[in-house]
């Protein structure tokens, strides 16, 4: 490049910068609100998406590649299971269901009058087809169970199972999107389908798509009427990279619905009267322990007395205030969320957790177990210091704060804790392979609020493996014959009273063994802007789990909200 050309370029870039500034001046006026013209209401939703969207509206997937509104907003399930409070399943595309007495046959009555967005009627044949589709594609069937599905008339479907299958109910009814037979029967590999022209029964349908944002519009032929009909015209989905951008978006009124942990949320809401929030703690933050020496776990935490001592040495009130700004809810010894599952906790002694540290009790538990105080201020046994290492994901700031605080709290009780901050990949691999002592994680609910799923996933010895092999969900390597028998017994019935008795047996065992040491029920904060839409879930009326990233619940909330009067 000759130098005179270069001079020209410098001039050209200077000009471009001036032009950009001029344009900036123009467009900054035009880009404030989200309300489009013509009196229609558009709300904007941020569900945690980062970066570009890739077009994929396949509701049968579970890889996270499917755009989230595919599940619950564009496509619907037969029933809706509310995880935010104790509530019976809500009918969606089915109006009734019943089990035979031994739990091998499920009869479903499908909704009449529902239509696919291409105008065709929704029938029991579509339901039978969808269930068969899941059955024929091993990769889509996340239950791993076997069944046959048959439509016996236009609005009845019968599912038949080889063995007692009561526990499959929430997954089948509440977690499987119904797809139209006339479209999906022509798709050769449904697991690889991206379904860019989705045809569902849901309250909204796809309007426009670009990699930075997509818009759904109200389905005017939706089966629901009155309260059950969608009332907001358009819903826009956007992506943002970080919580700062989300805060900016919320405060400037450009986002109507989002779910982020914002430590200063109370102040933000005070300053902006149109904003509101709801907190629905739902997963139990706990110290996961590799608890079972017989399964190959190594370290002092394999001793139940050490786990008990940790339970009492924790100052939960301090952890809550400092790690999550006091937004966490109280947990329980029973590994359940008391606000959702209180009635399933049999012994009230297990319904709560000590909120402040009881150092004396922690110490006496250790001493009764043969630990003696060493010269370094830590307990020792057989020449070994009581020294534990906890894994935590770097950058998960609330967890990182918890670990730092725990280090001090446990020290007061004579337990040495080293914090090992690792990347998420390494953290999860350590848990799955059993190559850890302690790990900070959370106990998540299953397909329905039923305690069965938590107990089966986290405690059953069928879901674990020896350290060194990959455990499926029970990473603590916990194995207890009494618990296994109770889990099996609870799965064989749908009599709530009988199940509760089984849960009581399990709760008594885990209060003693403590394979997962609960801390608190972690916050789940959702923020709303009430200036364009109202009727969002409130603490008094949690008709759905309010987080915008929650599949299925999303559709329920979008049906319930209505334009704000202006």
């Amino acid at each position: 490049m000759s130098l005179s050309n270069k001079r020209l370029l410098v001039r050209a870039t200077a000009l471009a910068a001036v032009a950009a500034l001029a344009l900036a001046g123009c467009s900054s006026k035009g880009s404030t609100g989200n309300n489009s013209s013509g009196g229609s209401t558009t709300i904007t939703l941020f569900n945690g998406s980062v970066g570009n969207f890739t077009e994929n509206f396949n509701p049968l997937l579970s890889t996270g590649a499917e755009l989230q509104p595919s599940q619950g907003v564009i496509y619907e399930t037969l029933y809706y299971y509310n995880m935010a409070r104790a509530q019976k399943p809500v009918p969606v595309l089915a109006t009734g269901y019943s089990w035979n007495s031994d739990g091998t046959q499920l009869t479903i009555t499908t909704r009449q009058g529902a239509k696919w967005t291409d105008g065709q009627a929704f029938t029991a044949q579509d339901v039978a087809f969808t269930f068969t589709l899941f059955q024929n594609n091993e990769g889509l069937n996340t239950t791993g169970a076997k069944w046959t599905a048959k439509a016996t008339d236009d609005h009845t479907v019968v599912l038949t199972f080889p063995s007692t299958s009561f526990t499959l109910e929430p997954q089948l009814l509440g977690n499987m999107a119904m797809v139209p037979e006339h479209i999906w029967s022509k798709i050769s590999d449904p697991a690889k389908e991206t379904n860019i022209n989705p045809v569902g029964t849901g309250p909204y349908k796809l309007k426009s798509f670009s990699a930075q944002s997509y818009v759904l519009t109200r389905n005017t032929d939706y089966w629901g009427t009155g309260d059950q009909a969608p009332k907001i015209d358009n819903v826009r989905y956007i992506s943002l990279a970080n919580a700062d951008a989300a805060t900016s978006a919320l405060e400037s009124g450009q986002i109507d619905w989002m779910g982020s942990y914002l430590p200063t949320l109370k102040d933000i809401v005070k300053q902006h009267p149109t904003l509101s929030y709801v907190n629905t703690p739902d997963s139990l933050t706990s110290v996961f322990t590799c608890s079972n020496a017989a399964m190959g776990c190594k370290g002092p935490q394999t001793d139940p007395a050490v786990r008990q001592a940790i339970l009492y040495a924790m100052d939960r009130a301090q952890l809550n205030t400092q790690a999550v700004a006091g937004f966490a809810g109280p947990g329980s010894m029973a590994m359940l969320v008391p606000s959702v599952n209180g009635e399933n906790i049999v012994d009230q002694a297990n319904a709560s957790l000590p909120q402040s540290a009881d150092v004396a009790k922690a110490k006496s538990l250790l001493e009764a177990d043969g630990w003696t105080m060493g010269s370094g201020g830590y307990y020792t046994k057989g020449g070994q210091e009581l020294d534990l290492t906890i894994n935590v994901v770097t950058g998960w700031t609330d967890y990182d704060t918890d670990c730092t605080l725990l280090q001090g709290q446990l020290k007061a009780a004579g337990i040495k804790l080293s914090v090992n901050q690792v990347a998420q990949n390494a953290w999860s691999q350590a848990e799955v392979s059993g190559n850890f002592q302690l790990s900070l994680n959370s106990i998540n609910p299953g397909a329905s609020p039923s305690p069965y799923f938590i107990y089966n996933n986290y405690l059953s010895s069928t879901n674990t493996a020896k350290a060194g092999d990959n455990a499926t969900t029970n990473v603590s390597r916990y194995s207890n014959a009494a618990v296994d028998a109770a889990i099996k017994d609870a799965s064989a019935t749908n009599d709530a009273a009988k199940q509760k008795a089984d849960y009581g047996i399990i709760q008594a065992q885990i209060a003693k063994d403590m394979p997962y040491i609960p801390i608190y029920v972690n916050q789940a904060l959702t923020q709303f802007n009430n200036s364009r839409a109202t009727g969002w879930p409130t603490p008094d009326n949690l008709y759905a789990f309010p987080e915008p990233w929650k599949s299925w619940d999303n559709g329920i909330v979008l049906k319930a909200i209505r334009p704000a009067k202006s």
């Binding site: 130098l3 370029l9 410098v10 870039t13 910068a17 032009a19 344009l23 900036a24 123009c26 467009s27 900054s28 035009g30 880009s31 489009s36 980062v50 970066g51 570009n52 890739t54 994929n56 997937l61 579970s62 890889t63 996270g64 590649a65 091993e138 990769g139 889509l140 069937n141 996340t142 791993g144 997954q171 977690n175 690889k192 670009s210 990699a211 930075q212 944002s213 826009r236 956007i238 992506s239 990279a241 700062d244 951008a245 900016s248 978006a249 997963s283 990347a423 998420q424 990949n425 999860s428 691999q429 959370s442 998540n444 299953g446 799923f453 996933n457 069928t462 969900t473 929650k550 599949s551």
Partner: protein, 330 residues
């Protein structure tokens, strides 16, 4: 001719090396994508059962079959046919499509601002070196200060000031999604420039100092050369001495630095794109790494290595033109 042949041969070997490293590095990372997916599903309140793991493994495929040697052969073969596999995060979208979506944003933003920073920095450096001790020369420490401040800090301060305290610029995104969409309309391009202005400013501000300082010092050194003195003695106009005699020689080291930074344009700036939620390759790479999306990582690394090599090759060849000395053999 021999000079160019040698260069090309060198780049072929470098390419093979880059491609091979690209194959190895993701395989040495711990963890596997299914575990990450399962912990995410659990956190998002989706039911996770033991069968879920098996189903996910089937959906995503269990990765390469056979030992590393056969995998390597397969990898090279796919590469030659332009196949980079399917992204796991966006399964089953092909990696090429996912990268293709992000690449234009990065090239436009980081590319333009790198070029602007280089031209401005070198241009100012020429004058600062020519008039030592002038006000322009005193600007050098000020610009290097911006470079010394950690980049993310500078970016965050600008975000706080220009998007929060004064809402003059948008805080996130590539364009205004509510009023326009990707097209060649003036409205879209205007919106994209408006949204890209602040991130571009941070890049220019933080990198201009280096170019300016380097160029200024080279100018000072070159101006004391005998041929500059000779040119002045001949009575040539100062402008001609400044540009054709001094600057042409002084710019050479900056030019090779520029080649390297051009190559890294494609890598994007992970920090810029994170701070400004900009939809480019840097953010994509971040997503790929945090989800163990090997195919996507490999694809991005490949694009980065190729562009660094290509930029270097081009400048190497150009260098031969600008500076005939490099062609001569010792």
């Amino acid at each position: 001719m021999r000079f160019y042949l040698q260069k090309v041969l060198f780049y072929v070997v470098a390419l093979w090396f880059a491609v091979t490293l690209n194959f190895l590095i993701p395989r040495l990372m711990p963890g596997n994508p299914v575990d990450i997916l399962i912990s995410k599903m659990g956190a998002a309140g989706q039911p996770v059962t033991p069968a879920t793991r098996r189903a996910l493994e089937i959906q995503l495929g269990t990765g390469g079959k056979g030992n590393w040697f056969t995998q390597y052969g397969q990898y090279l073969n796919d590469l030659i046919h332009g196949q980079l596999g399917a992204s796991l995060v966006n399964h089953p979208a092909p990696v090429t499509e996912v990268i293709g979506q992000a690449l234009p944003w990065t090239i436009a933003l980081i590319g333009l601002s790198t070029v602007i920073a280089f031209l401005l920095g070198v241009g100012l450096g020429v004058f600062a070196g020519w008039r030592r001790g002038s006000w322009l020369d005193n600007l050098v420490p000020a610009t290097t200060m911006f470079q010394a401040v950690p980049y993310f800090w500078l970016a965050l301060i600008l975000v706080l000031f220009f998007t929060r305290w004064h809402q003059w610029f948008p805080y996130a995104g590539g364009y205004d999604v509510t009023t326009t969409g990707p097209s060649l309309s003036t409205q879209f391009i205007g919106s994209a420039i408006y949204y890209g202005f602040l991130p571009a400013c941070t890049i220019v501000l933080s990198s201009i100092g280096g170019w300016m300082l380097g160029m200024r010092n080279m100018m000072v050194a070159t101006l004391s050369e005998d041929y500059v003195l000779a040119a002045e003695a001949k009575g040539l106009r100062p402008r001609r001495v400044r540009l054709t005699y001094a600057a042409r020689n002084a710019v050479l080291p900056s030019l090779s630095g520029f080649a390297i930074s051009l190559g890294f344009i494609v890598a994007g700036s992970i920090v810029t794109e994170q701070v400004f939620s900009y939809p480019g390759v840097g953010q994509l790479l971040w997503t790929a790494v945090s989800n163990d999306d090997y195919a996507l990582m490999q694809g991005i690394f490949l694009v980065i290595s190729l562009s660094v090599l290509a930029a270097n090759l081009i400048v190497d060849l150009l260098y031969g033109l600008i500076d005939p000395r490099t062609r001569a053999r010792a």
